[in-house]
Symmetry: C2
Subunit: 621 residues, 2 copies
């Protein structure tokens, strides 16, 4: 079974019969659910493991081009002759971009996931998806013989043996695609008003083009107002129900992880690790890594200025790589130490004998900017960097990256931001905040699996380190960067499957969008905060400093309270909470990262309430 | 769906009707295929994701106890009263060991994998597996009502509505198991001649105990000579055919990786990564890591003397951890440099400023032991270690660990062995060869996924390093060891899913056995060697030094030959070969590690021959 990773969507057409509804937008921008049908289709493709989508545009192409800003896995190409040519011309407009087997879709389709899965799981190389009778009024009937298609026509009388109706979703092999290309090249008359269905029919005699029939497939092509009405009233609700059932079948038991990562992931991220074995020194894997590197930078809006350097390690490995690679021997970093991860920076510097100045703050208190500046000013001659943790999960505090960066700029220092538990959960802009080095990992708010850390480096700042004396080998930033740049290979063997999971997780991030993910996290936090306060809990950190991704809760003084027993009670019921870690008061911690929803937090609060009441634990009011 | 990871096999019985066939061995040691039926059952359980197996023994228990040496995931416990008690007493003998839901099996069963899968995938908590009519002569009939069982009897007349015949494989929840225990505790008369089937019947009224019927299940319980004959002639061949079909259904595309790791893995290892999300600071995950640590040491027979320290990194990370943690500041390592990985040791020492002496050998030539000893002798005052690569994949040479170790012992030095590509492929005994530190990774001959490196350390040698000045943070061996020992947690976030894959890969290693894996690898090598010689190729390294896991082949001089074109030709056909790397002559490399078979090598050779002839490449004879 060859895994299909690419889809081509034909979206050049005008859709004149629908003008009244979609106000002159292309047909794909009709909206039935909560987003345009083209974006529904895109999300469905991504959740079924497609990794790149080519859209052939024409009419009002800028609508589709705009999607590229939102979804970096999309490429568009325009058929300039869209008004006078058929879909086959459009399909061949994409030939520079197509270099593998692909799914071919029309842009105006609403369909259930099963449509994609049946083609993706088929062992046949070329498969045309058919459905039972739709009564749509403009059906394309497909004639078949055995497993193969014979012809297609809008006239049922042209069909000898009916296989079903054409849906407009097909699996096309690279080989067949090339033959389709040769076919139109050798028939000049077929360059213009000729459709891909016609071409498939023409080639069906000499090529194995199979069909797959799903008798009661939930789908509709929206060509006119009547279709539109039917889509809203009948088909869309049916698709939603069917898709939720499909997911149920292969669902992995879902644990609600309220620890600060590794976080709860989607099933699609989990299953994306099951791939054919590959040697990571192959070009194909290099392209995967290259795409991930670019997208990791794009998430923090540094595509023109920054580079991502990846390591097979935990997040701490990434921090160690950064600190040991960028602080020159004769300089020092000012480390803000207001949590266990600030302290870890200190430990790393101690391990290597790197110079640093510590700004110690009790764990739970915020950074005082005046004091920070005094520290900087007093040591300005030896400092090269300010290093700190963005979201310090020890206490759930958000350190003010913008204000700290301003101080750094004033004294011409670079900043190193450990954004382990904020990256992809809280919007970050490395250029707006002048962040030189930012570190995170694959298993926090980006919602992939643990095993990869990465440092997003300002290009010039990284280049400067090329001449620095090496302090280690595995973790040197510049050497890892150079190796990849030269060979498009990771310097050392990467955790292959974790890269596939990260690819899927990043795609799902873009589907949810920066704003959408942050909104979901903040909503969960608000529900959590309200619920905890209602139960009588108090927070370690003043609300105005809350990162809204983790909340440190002061432990009850009631003698019936015991963290381990509470943890066990909740764990047995599917909720994983986290103990405190060296804060100024005793706490436990509740994170709200990962693929969770506010309903999960509500269920958690109900379960916590049950624990408290069944153990007769009272909270000080 | 709660994932079942434990199985209990009832194996206390005498099996008196079978004495003539099995020579007084317990029934499980009957042999139908190429191993005793109990080992068939064990392998089938492991390949279906079971991770620990409890065998309740009685009659001739030492046969079962011996299995523990071969399979570390087995625990045995003896029912001392096996001659006078029923199976319920046996089942409860295991109560100290059972702490989760489990599969319950009888020891004398031959069955197809579908029997296990149907129970493992069922969403019901308690399920009794039933089959259609077998005509076996001593059937246990099961009466049912709706989804539930009602009663069981050998007399069909006792049954109101027949659900099917009892197979002897069931899924039992922890909760039901406890109720079964209470039931016999409160009925003293039921302590002795009482069977688990009776207990299930007694509890069926008040508990939801469901059945699952597979009408045409391929299975047999072997109680007498007639069963034995039927098993050999009919059932066993059917089981083999059915199991190969089941595997086909979920098979991932199989690439033949002939690069020196990451290697081709089984589908069961791939799917073992799809697990419910878990916080790796939970006790449950700590137990997983602890079990893996023990088994990694056991593979090189160091369970009484050595400890495994694990890192989230590539294999190089493990080498860096070892070199930077164990060589004291005032001492030096002698590094044998006869390949890229010996050279890498040098680069690591350079990165940190660790003292070393190099014994340089052209890549492709073997170690000369006299010369090595001269080097050692000349530097004996400053040396503390000899560091070298066991199987140097740059050239496919096997460096003689025994002889090198003897020299080290003579001069009272410790040895550091990079066994990246030999561990689990070539038998190693850390005590016989006095290896102090041995490094490998999860993705080579152990056949797991990339992302974990490990150092297997002699306990005393590791302890000695506790006081050494730290050279780094993430990779300090002793600190990582101490952290795990104290908390049973990895010091830094581990790649969770890669650990699950490694667990499965280790279990599959024990199923194949040390001898079996080495034999399979050597057979592949012999086929490869013969085939390459027949084609006219020559080897870089004299055959007597071949590691038999990778062969470096001298590149043809024919002008039509081009490595990249050859690679591409083979890659397109599913075979991944590997370029040369700095050897004294131009080579390409063919590894034979991973879940491959000699048939794969034969197919590779045929494809290589096609490449040569279709490109008219002639080889010098």
């Amino acid at each position: 079974m060859n895994r299909i990773r690419c889809a081509v969507i034909l979206a050049a057409g005008i859709g004149s019969r629908l003008r009244s509804i979609h106000n002159d937008k292309p047909k794909g921008f009709l909206q039935i659910g909560d987003k345009p049908i083209i974006e529904e289709s895109i999300a469905r493709l991504i959740y079924n493991g497609i990794q790149s989508i080519i859209i052939v545009t024409g009419y009002k192409n800028h609508f589709y081009d705009d999607l590229k800003n939102k979804y970096p896995f999309i490429k568009t190409i325009k058929n300039d002759h869209f008004e006078t040519t058929g879909s086959m011309f459009s399909l061949f407009t994409a030939k520079e971009l197509v270099n593998d087997d692909f799914l071919l879709l029309e842009s105006d389709l609403l369909y259930e996931s099963n449509a994609l899965q049946s083609l993706l799981h088929s062992s046949d190389k070329n498969v045309i998806l058919l459905s039972g009778a739709t009564g749509a009024g403009d059906e394309v009937y497909v004639g078949v013989e055995g497993k193969h298609i014979v012809n297609m026509s809008k006239k049922i009388s042209d069909i000898k043996k009916l296989g079903g109706e054409l849906v407009g979703i097909s699996k096309i092999s690279q080989e067949l695609y090339e033959k389709m290309g040769s076919h139109i090249d050798s028939h000049q008359d077929k360059k213009t008003n000729y459709h891909y269905e016609d071409c498939l029919t023409d080639l069906a005699g000499d090529n194995e083009i199979n069909f797959h029939l799903i008798e009661d497939l939930a789908w509709i092509e929206i060509d006119d107002e009547q279709h539109h009405k039917r889509a809203i009233e009948k088909i869309y609700p049916l698709i939603c129900r069917r898709d939720s059932e499909i997911e149920l079948q292969k669902r992995v038991e879902r644990n609600i992880l309220l620890n600060p990562g590794p976080a709860t992931t989607t099933d699609t991220v989990k299953y994306s690790m099951v791939v054919e074995d590959i040697c990571p020194r192959e070009r194909e894997f290099g392209e995967l890594v290259e795409g991930i590197r670019k997208d990791l930078v794009r998430i923090v809006h540094g595509e023109d200025s920054h580079e991502a350097v990846l390591f097979a390690s935990s997040g701490t490995g990434g921090v160690e790589a950064c600190l040991t690679s960028v602080i020159p021997d004769d300089k020092a970093a000012l480390i803000i130490n207001n949590g266990a991860y600030g302290k870890r920076m200190v430990q790393i510097c101690d391990g290597y004998g790197i110079n640093y100045i510590k700004y110690d703050i009790p764990f739970g208190d915020p950074v005082e900017l005046d004091k920070l500046e005094q520290f900087v000013n007093a040591n300005k001659n030896i400092l090269s960097h300010i290093a700190f943790v963005h979201h310090e999960t020890t206490v759930g505090i958000l350190n003010p990256v913008g204000s700290i960066s301003e101080i750094a700029q004033k004294y011409n220092l670079e900043i190193i931001v450990d954004a382990m538990s904020s990256y992809a959960g809280i919007p970050i802009d490395v250029n707006k905040d002048k962040i030189h080095f930012l570190i995170s990992s694959s298993n926090k708010c980006i919602q992939g699996m643990a095993g990869i850390s990465f440092v997003i480096c300002n290009r010039e700042s990284l280049q400067k380190t090329s001449a620095y004396k090496r302090r280690n080998f595995y973790f040197n930033l510049f050497d890892n960067f150079t190796f990849f740049s030269k060979s498009r290979q990771m310097q050392f063997t990467p955790p292959v499957q974790i890269f596939y999971a990260l690819r899927q997780a990043i795609n799902e991030y873009f589907i949810e969008t920066e704003e959408g993910r942050n909104k979901r996290y903040v909503e969960m936090y608000e529900v959590l905060k309200k619920g905890l306060l209602e139960l009588g809990f108090k927070f370690l950190v003043d609300e105005k400093y809350h990162a809204k991704i983790l909340t440190a809760v002061i432990e009850p003084e009631d003698k019936n309270y015991d963290f381990n027993r509470m943890h066990h009670y909740l764990y047995e019921r599917g909720f994983t909470i986290y103990p405190g870690k060296g804060a100024k008061l005793n706490t436990f911690r509740i994170a709200n990262m990962g693929q969770l929803y506010k309903e999960d937090i509500e269920n958690f609060l109900l379960t916590l309430r049950d624990y408290l009441s069944s153990n007769r634990i009272t909270l000080n009011s």
